[in-house]
Amino acid sequence: MRKNGLAIHPLNDSVGAEIDLDLSTPHEDWVYREIRQAIDAHGVVFFRDQNLDSEQYATFARHFGKTIVPTSDIIPAFNGSSEIAEVRKEPEQTRNIGGSWHTDQAFRPAPYWGTMLLAREVPDYGGDTLFIGMAAVYEALSDGLKQTLDGLRAVHSNARVQAKMTDGKPAQPDVTHPVVARHPGDGHRFLYVNPAYTVRFDGWSEQESQGLLDYLFRFAQRPEFACRFRWREGSLAFWDNYQTWHYATNDYQGERRVMHRIVVESDPFF
């Protein structure tokens, strides 16, 4: 047990923990340190019943690093905010955002570390978000495959995702990241490839890469490595983009779902 001791309840050994805490009021520094440690250890943490106003929400976020100004047309700034963006699906919309396994920002040269979502309006049921802990996935591989993957980099691109968008923006230039990255927090290793953005191993053709990448993508989706979060209004999820994948289920047609998102920067992985 830690010295100060937040009430942290892991969902399983791979990913996710719930934390009992009221985020509307200020806390001592150790509280934010322990939240950060819990995210490092579990990949994503969940808080329930946090009916924060925008200022309370942003104040909480700033304890973890610089907040990023929303610039996306798909996830626009909420009410002119320079910190909060809105993820919205209206009853008449059929496509959702993030409805496939991915890691935010993997196609960027320096992906942002943290993302938090605060549920403002959710359907009665449906619209869950699933997470996968890529450190647990990596640890479950054989020693031989780990050793091979440790030496590889992969090419990431948002071209396939961008091709489905209607905003007419060009794809970002390709970037490479280590296939196995090390966490800036405690140095633990995690697998950093994902089905949405990873196109091939660096130096390999797409055809050569596909079989092994697809294997890793299928392997990572074993239920043992995942958790599924059911939202309520006021639920807040705060995840580490480096070491998790997530998936927003699109199973609530005809209903509205509104989430407020804040993205924060931290040290890069290595």
């Binding site: 054989s142 495959l145 091979t148 030496g151 590889l152 390999w204 050569e208 392997f219």
Partner: protein, 293 residues
């Protein structure tokens, strides 16, 4: 090209060459032997036509290239333990070697090669395909080459014709012997340095290679399957049509082969003499060597 070369070589697209100018009933001169050996190293498989050898002549030709390997699992020609029979009878539906493979990759020192002589053939069908595993390796991307150069693979025969074979393959006991002792397993570099030609050769095969060393079978399957598919592109393969008296002499380290099983109801009888090989060294990663120097 050597001056006054005795043999004439006619390369075959994909892999191999036809060799003319030799009557293999006669003892090879030293120069002819060296030329044949050179051709084998250059082409991976060489073909001769109309060589109606006695068993003694067949063995005599083979002995020039090394020690004879007595097959542990194939039926022997009576009176000639050094010659194995590859036989399929009209009533049999299974053939020997019907999947892509290199012989004996489950041995610590896999055979150098085999000299297969056609004794009795169906009117049509029963061709043998060969694949050029050096060309297959060199056609890979630099990144995948570099990864493969650092890997080893596990080869086994138990799941093919030994005790772990599926029940559906029990009919092979009509064509093989001693299969209860087919429990050999060996680890070889995924990319070998060919002991004679110095070429880098992809040394995994669909029949006997079960996984990368240190990886699980499930982890290994996708990349192995890619390599298996890649290597059989028509650009790397040839298809040999036999006549009685035809000989194929393949380098087991440089090639894969596959015996097409498309002549049910007919007999096909081949005599195989196999030559002992050596342990296979790993090819070196020329990329990292040059990067470090």
């Amino acid at each position: 090209m050597m001056r006054n070369q005795i043999i004439e070589e006619k390369p075959v697209a994909g892999v191999g060459a036809e060799i003319f100018g030799l009557d293999l009933r006669e003892k090879l001169s030293e120069q002819a032997y060296l030329e044949v050996r050179q051709a084998l190293n250059t082409y991976g498989v060489i073909f001769f036509r109309d060589q109606n050898l006695t068993p003694e002549q067949h063995l005599g030709f083979a002995e020039r290239f090394g020690e004879i390997n007595v097959s542990k699992f194939l039926v022997q020609v009576p009176g000639h333990p050094g010659i194995a029979e590859v036989r399929k009878e009209p009533e049999q539906t299974h053939n020997v070697g019907g999947g892509w493979h290199t012989d004996h990759s489950y041995d610590q020192a896999p055979a150098l090669g085999s000299i297969l002589l056609a004794r009795q053939l169906p009117d049509r069908g029963g061709d043998t395909l060969f694949a050029n595993m050096s060309a297959a390796f060199e056609a890979l991307s630099d990144g995948l080459k570099r990864t493969l150069l650092g890997l080893k693979a596990v080869h086994s025969n138990a799941h093919v014709f030994g005790p772990k074979r599926p029940a559906s393959r029990n009919n092979i006991d009509a064509q093989m012997r001693n299969t209860e002792n087919a429990i050999q397993e060996a680890i070889h570099p995924v990319v070998i340095l060919h002991p004679e030609s110095g070429k880098r050769v992809l040394y995994v095969n669909q029949t006997y290679t079960v996984r990368f060393d240190g990886w699980t079978e499930q982890e290994s399957a996708p990349l192995l399957n890619f390599l298996f598919q890649h290597a059989i592109r028509p650009e790397f393969t040839c298809r040999f049509r036999w006549r009685e008296g035809s000989i194929a002499f393949w380098d087991n380290r440089a090639t894969w082969h596959l015996a097409v099983n498309d002549y049910h109801g007919e007999r096909r009888l081949m005599h195989r003499v196999t030559i002992e090989g050596v342990p296979l060294p790993a090819a070196r990663d020329s990329f990292s060597t040059s990067a470090e120097s």
